[in-house]
């Protein structure tokens, strides 16, 4: 059973690249941790998309399995990240990432 979609693989990859760069762009310019994490999520999804696209190209389940691992990773990462964000907010009263700069010199 097919979904009657036939597009070149490169297009999906281009989409993944664009999403990935938007995420990276977001991480670089935002100073609020929440927005950085959010753009991080976008980057993760972009990778997932690329994997699933590759799996789809060979019609193999491996792509999807990799996607599932990425999911697990994203879930773990968000859990810890948000715990950190809560601590960060409590200690620095603001969510500006640049406030935490003791580790320098």
């Amino acid at each position: 059973m097919t979904t009657a979609l036939s597009i070149p693989l490169e297009h999906v990859f281009f989409l993944a690249i664009i999403l990935f760069l938007i995420g990276a762009f977001g991480v670089l310019i935002r100073r609020n941790i929440i927005f950085m994490l959010l753009s991080l999520e976008i980057m993760m999804n972009a990778c997932g998309l690329a994997f699933v696209a590759a799996g789809a190209r060979w019609a193999e389940p491996d792509g999807q399995i990799m996607f599932m691992f990425i999911l697990a990773l994203a879930a773990a990462e968000v859990a810890v990240a948000l715990g950190l964000v809560v601590q960060f907010a409590r200690r620095f009263e603001t969510l500006d990432i640049d406030r935490a700069e003791e580790l320098n010199g």
Partner: protein, 173 residues
Amino acid sequence: MNLSFFLFYISAAVAITTAIMAVTRKNASHALIYLVVTLLSIAVIFFLLGAPFAAALEIVIYAGAIVVLFLFVVMMLNLGRSSVARESQWLRPGMWVLPAILSGVLFIVFGYTVLQTENSAMIEGQVVPPKEVGTVLFHEYLLGVELAGVLLLAALVGAFHLGRRYLEERREN
């Protein structure tokens, strides 16, 4: 050029625009909502690529659990109206230029590498049923699954500890 062809490009466009919106919003909750829409559009693309199980997971776990978790934290830290003013102050135009250049160049390099591949092939949209995914998952990738389980456990314990100290201090003062 059948329906799924157009569907793919529409959802791709939606994904890109909402991603940009999510990244550039000043209000945290608006950004999260845009993120949800991006995720949904990616789910549609998964479905079109013949990975219905992945699409379902995407919606359930990603859009459902992770973004909701974000929303909890945003609500808890009440990043409402007051933070919007501060946010705009942080997004001074000067900040945009360098990252923009960098990502542009990166885009060119990635694009160039993708176009270089000789055996560019078409995606036929062959559906891979969840049953097949499940069998492969628990045969070749059994180890991967166990490791993912351990990873999640570790994240659980980490998140628990990070949260706990916060509670004690609140109890003291």
